[in-house]
């Protein structure tokens, strides 16, 4: 028997409770606040701790100093009410002819209260506002229901929100009773049914091999036409509601309609484009790539101008798309292109083994994508998806330059009201709009804090020079320049992707 070495244990070491710096409230305080500033064991550590204390205090001071100005303007010095109905005079200093002390600087909230309805709904008729409220209430309940975990029928509610709700909201907001002819709709539905029948016959092999392969496409197009025309039919029904054209919509209503349509449409479209771009079928892949690169390479502002100014020039006389609908389609396709690239990033992160595992079990391409690849890929890129959503929401302010009164546009026209003309009027309304945007974007992502006013305000200056032909030319020019730069960046990213992925291949 040899003598045991000192470092070889002959019995178990006792299990000890953690030191105070690791657990409980003291542990939390230590790890989160004092860890870097309370080490005085050596001279160097003490100097570092002192420095950290001073630096922390400086940061706290800067934060308070910066926010105090805002808090003072928005809350402490602000005028909150106008009981006597003085309008602009309630926010005037003595020097300006009012009653506030000279040198006063604060928010003029009564101005905002007076413009509240206008900022939220624009010139929408007051007696029809219940229709907006009803859509918003149904929408919020449906949204919360579909997003909350563990509620019964969650999936069904989600499907209804994506199918029936947009239709309901559209009829409520516009009043339905569109002038589409039921005969035309009937003809289109018959065309759709015919296409589906051709598809069925092709699938059964009655029409030769080429048709057998194209059968699926016939079916999809047929069903698409039928669905579109059923919607057109429902919208054409007279529900005995006063029609409110989209020209009478405005403010937050427009912002929400544009942003929500863009958000809801961009994810599925983006997924399809991303899958298409990665497809092994060259035609599909090239078409998706061209689509993505085109829409990504053009600034949204150009897209909106194209949609509202240029598109009508190409349409035959008498055919007139709604201005808002044109902008909506532009925003939708634009954000879908961005979303496609975010999703593609996620798809590339999925290991080849996942595809092989699914294929070896006999899952089809779509089953593999839906059940295995997309759930994982989308989880990886949630930050990017949310980023795109938030960017899209803020970019909706750009529609104000093509004559659509969104929240920012409504705010700007409110500023022009002479009855409320005070020095702080503009600041107050922009503060208010900023707050609304902030609340909505915070709802989308409670994590980030973003510069909210910048994107919209840049649009103000542009609206001044929108003479028809000059505008088209200059925006086209700008569009081309942007496109060259963006396309260059995009090509470089492809180069980097190829370079990086080489090391990961087996």
């Amino acid at each position: 028997m040899t003598t045991p070495r000192k470092y070889v244990r002959t019995e178990d070491a006792p299990l000890l409770p953690p030191p105070a710096t690791e657990a409980g409230i003291t542990g939390w305080l230590w790890q989160n606040i004092f860890a870097s500033m309370s080490d005085f064991q050596s001279l160097g550590a003490a100097i570092r701790s002192l420095f950290m204390i001073l630096f922390s205090l400086l940061l706290v001071y800067l934060f308070i100093d910066q926010t105090y100005g805002l808090i003072d303007f928005a809350i402490l010095s602000a005028v909150w009410s106008d009981p006597e109905g003085l309008k602009r005079e309630v926010c005037w200093t003595v020097q300006q002819g009012g009653s506030l002390p000279d040198g006063w600087h604060g928010a003029c909230w009564p101005f905002v209260w007076a413009k509240q309805k206008f900022a939220w709904f624009g010139p929408y008729p007051s007696e029809e506002l219940w229709r907006i409220y009803l859509s918003l209430i149904v929408g919020s309940i449906g949204l919360v229901w579909a997003l909350r975990e563990r509620l019964p029928y969650r999936r069904q509610v989600g499907v209804l929100m994506l199918t029936l709700y947009p239709l309901l909201a559209f009829i409520l907001l516009t009043g339905g009773n569109s002038d589409a002819s039921f005969t035309g709709i009937g003809v289109w539905i018959i065309v759709g049914l015919a296409l589906i029948s051709v598809g069925r016959m092709g699938a059964a092999g009655h029409l030769g091999t080429i048709f057998a392969e194209l059968a699926g496409i016939f079916g999809i197009v047929g069903w698409g036409i039928i669905a579109l025309n059923v919607v057109r039919g429902i919208v054409a029904v007279d529900f005995n509601l006063t029609p409110v054209g989209t020209g009478d919509w405005g403010g937050l209503l427009i912002t929400l309609v544009v942003a929500l349509t863009g958000i809801v449409a961009s994810l599925p479209l983006g997924i399809i484009l991303a899958l298409g771009r990665r497809s092994e079928m060259p035609v599909v892949s090239v078409l998706c790539t061209i689509f993505i690169e085109f829409w990504r390479g053009v600034p949204l502002i150009t897209v909106l101008f194209m949609a509202s100014v240029m598109l009508p020039l190409f349409l035959p006389a008498g055919v007139n798309f709604d201005n808002l609908l044109r902008a909506l389609i532009g925003v939708m396709l634009f954000s879908a292109a961005y979303m496609a690239e975010v999703v593609r990033g996620g798809l590339q992160a999925i290991d080849k083994g996942q595809y092989e595992g699914a294929q070896a079990m006999g899952l089809s391409y779509w089953q593999t994508m839906r059940l295995i690849v997309l759930p994982q890929a989308l989880t990886h890129v949630i930050p990017g998806i949310v980023n795109t959503f938030i960017g899209l929401f803020k970019d909706t302010t750009l529609v104000s330059i093509v004559g659509i009164f969104d929240l920012l546009g409504a705010g700007q026209s409110a500023v022009a009201d002479a009855a409320w003309s005070t020095p702080v009027q503009a600041i107050t309304i922009y503060l208010y709009i900023g707050i609304i945007f902030f609340i909505f974007t915070t709802l989308v992502s409670i994590v980030g804090i973003f510069d909210l006013l910048g994107a919209g305000q840049s649009a103000i200056a542009d609206a001044a020079w929108s003479t028809p032909v000059q505008a088209i030319t200059i925006y086209l020019y700008i569009g081309i320049i942007f496109f060259i730069f963006c396309f260059g960046m995009s090509r470089y990213s492809i180069f980097m992707e190829n370079k990086l992925s080489k090391s990961r291949r087996h």
């Binding site: 083994g353 595992g357 294929q359 070896a360 079990m361 006999g362 089953q367 295995i372 989880t379």
Partner: protein
């Protein structure tokens, strides 16, 4: 045990795989060269050979994870060609276990196992779960059914992958280096599962360097080099009397430790 396995491990006359004059290239690299192989139902074949010799490519051609460019492959009487229906049919009947398990990390063990029966075989969920539990018990981890793959050890994950393939009740199992990514102490639990599967009469083709396993269950050992089958023998013969110089070199390298 030995007696029962001897009776069960019967090779039948029914042909399950027929490969004739199969060639495959990766670009200009000729990776499979004139492969001719017939496997009967109930056979347990071990394929070994140096890295890059085309072993994995060969078995991946059997369920069309890789495409061969010339020659014929028939599995269960179905020819593998560009017809997607044939490929789907073959994949339903051929299970595959991978080196890196390829479990789906976002699904629980039970969901991993029921996925294919539900979506490919169109089985009701309750039936699929019953089958999944049966095979999870068979690989001795029913208690892990509601965990996620990331919470299991490598050996447990590979046993789940085996159970997942078995849930499709395949006629043939392909193993692509199933123990190469495992820690030494986990290799045994996976090999035990595979041995018991073989004893139950499952036809299997196994790419592996586990020579103990080959000796115990294989009825044929195939040695590949540079894309060709250069030796094929019963295990005892293969280990004791290899003919080809390349085989001798390979065996001396992996056995002399």
């Amino acid at each position: 045990m030995a007696a029962s396995s001897a009776t069960k491990m019967q090779v039948t006359e029914e042909v399950i795989i027929q490969m004739s004059q199969v060639n495959k290239w990766y670009g200009t690299f000729h990776v499979l060269r004139d492969i001719n192989l017939t496997v009967n139902k109930g056979e347990r074949i071990v394929i070994c050979g140096p890295s890059g010799s085309g072993k994995s490519t060969l078995i991946r051609c059997l369920n069309r994870l890789e495409e061969h460019q010339s020659g014929d492959i028939t599995v269960q009487g179905i020819t593998i060609n560009n017809d997607l229906k044939n490929i789907d049919e073959i994949r339903r009947e051929v299970g595959m276990v991978f080196q890196h398990f390829n479990l789906f990390p976002h699904l629980t063990i039970l969901e991993n196992c029921t996925l294919a029966p539900i979506w490919v075989r169109r089985m009701p969920k309750a039936d699929a779960e019953a089958i999944a539990m049966k095979y999870l018990e068979r690989v001795k981890i029913p208690e892990q059914a509601h965990k996620y793959p990331g919470q299991l050890s490598g050996g447990q994950q590979q046993r789940v992958a085996i159970a997942r393939s078995l849930c499709m009740e395949p006629q043939l199992m392909l193993f692509d280096e199933p123990t190469s990514a495992l820690d030494p102490e986990m290799i045994k639990e996976v090999l035990d599962t595979m041995v018991s599967l073989a004893e139950d009469g499952m036809s299997m083709i196994c790419v592996t360097h586990e020579m103990g396993f080959a000796r115990k269950v294989a009825n044929r050992v195939i040695f590949m080099d540079e894309g060709q089958i250069i030796e094929e023998k019963e295990p005892e013969e293969f280990f004791n009397n290899p003919e080809n110089e390349r085989t001798k070199l390979f065996l001396s390298q992996i056995l002399d430790h």
